[in-house]
């Protein structure tokens, strides 16, 4: 089973790359694209034989132990 985990900076934390992307898009004449924030997407495979509980536990563990720094980031499994 393919799992996608979306990680982004918490909303109160400045995300300067998004601001620069927004400006570049505006320079291209693409207006009305506002409040851009860049995050990251992690994709991974998990064996189908695992139960939903086992899957959830494994993903939560991976996120909390390494993939996400919860001081500055939040995540959701898509």
């Amino acid at each position: 089973m393919r799992i996608k985990i979306l990680i982004r900076l918490k909303s109160q934390i400045l995300e300067p790359q998004g601001k620069v992307i927004e400006k570049s898009l505006s320079n291209l004449g693409l207006k009305n694209l506002n409040n851009i924030r860049q995050g990251k997407l992690i994709e991974l495979d998990i064996p189908d034989k695992l139960s939903k509980e086992e899957r959830d536990e494994l993903i939560t563990s991976a996120c909390k132990k390494l993939l996400v720094n919860e001081i500055i980031e939040e995540y959701e499994v898509l």
Binding site: I13, L14, P16, Q17, V20, L66, L67, N69, I71, I72
Partner: protein, 226 residues
Amino acid sequence: MSFKSAVITFPGSNCDRDALVYLKTLTSGEVLNIWHEENSLPNVDLVIVPGGFSFGDYLRSGAMASKSKIINDLINHSKKGGYILGICNGFQILSEIGLLKGALIQNNRLKFLGKNCFIKKKYQSDFNCLINKDQVLKIPVAHNEGNFYCDDSDLKYLHDNELIAFEYCEGKFSNSIANINGSIDNIAGITNKDKNILGMMPHPERAFQNFHSSQDGKLILESLLS
């Protein structure tokens, strides 16, 4: 009494050699270089976690290094009261381990900063006891993710327990600004609650030799030795 110290090297560390020279020049004891895959640290007084781009800064700065084999014993060393100095990427690694509060995020102006900066002591610890109040130190920074962030409760904790070791300040040039990277409260370096661990973004190991543009970096190690 002989002062023993060690520097941990990770793949991508690039200030480990400078840190070794810093220790060998200013201390009289044995100085060891430890590879991150070692399981244990030798019995030393101080461990430097050096700057660089450990593991290519993959995922987040310091994230991978914080899970290296040697880290368990680094935590033991800290619990025994041993000193740890994390410089630049070393500060990021100590934050990722959780030995220090907060996190280092991208500089607010999106520029890699490689220049001299000015800092002064905020609260006293063994790492800055020889530095006078309001004494301005000129020490270089070289970072892209040096913007210190923590939430309001952690910031209160840092102030209440006097854990902010250094803050950026205006320097001797009229165009220098205090807050170079967006750090909350101009924070340049913090300690843990027991004050045996210091993480700082400026590089004292690049400011101690006569050919360096400043020798103010000496004061941090000399404070520790005093």
